[in-house]
Amino acid sequence: MTILMTIITILIMPILVPFILEGADAHPLDVLVNLVVLILIPILLGILVKSRSGALAARLRRPMDWISNLSIAAIFLSYGIIFLASIGEIVSTSTGATAVSVAVVFTLAALGLTYLLGRRFEEDSRMDLASGPGSGTSPQPSSWSLRALRTSRTMSFSWCSWSVSLR
């Protein structure tokens, strides 16, 4: 479901971005090309490799997982340091304080509503519904806490990146 949402996002982003960024130089074709090159082609390439040689795909998974984990750690660390170093400066301005509070409210509202919508589904599906804007929980309280902790950690990094990108 997560990948399907990614593909749908690739299709609708080029249409919506020029409307959202009115006045900015954002041509739908440029947005589409970027998304196709960075997202769709690598996915299709991976599928092609797997269909041609399962053994090669299996060998490539581990290094790709490492690169993916290391690079996301680098993203969070670099932007996190920039964000934390300037957090005082950010929240001291009205724009910065608004951005941080809106990010918190938006994430919590999106997470809560999408999770509630998926409460009739199995845990995996609830997670998928909520993991676009936030994430979800499992029925057991202990697991709930663990997942909530993981999620809040992940989301706090997202807030950092987002707030930094707004500067």
Binding site: I20, K50, T98, D128, W162
Partner: protein, 107 residues
């Protein structure tokens, strides 16, 4: 923070974004088949709910916040962009971390 380290951190972050997006999308492809990609389509109720929540409800939350809280246009545009990015590349990693339907390794 001094200008140089900050610029270096931005450069590291920007390079890491490309490395992350390309590697995680390629990794995703290595774990699925076309059949796996299309499997959620068969669960129409879940698919409808996913589309409703990701492309209607979440953007509506953003629009409500924009209407209720006075904010500058750049911030509002950023919030809207975040709200419609249901399938941003990091989503797959978040799903993997939180236990969502990240493609499991299959032979």
């Amino acid at each position: 923070m001094a200008a140089l380290p900050s610029e270096m951190l931005y450069d590291i972050g920007n390079i890491a974004i490309y490395a992350f997006v390309l590697s995680s999308m390629f990794l995703t492809g290595l774990m699925v088949t076309i059949g796996d990609l299309m499997a959620p389509v068969r669960n129409r109720r879940l698919l409808s709910l996913a589309l409703l929540s990701n492309f209607i409800i979440v953007p509506l939350i953003a629009l409500t916040l924009i209407a209720l809280i006075p904010m500058n246009p750049e911030l509002a545009a950023g919030l809207l962009l975040v709200s419609i990015a249901a399938g941003a590349p990091s989503t797959a990693k978040v799903a993997q971390i939180t236990g969502g339907t990240w493609p499991r390794r299959s032979p």
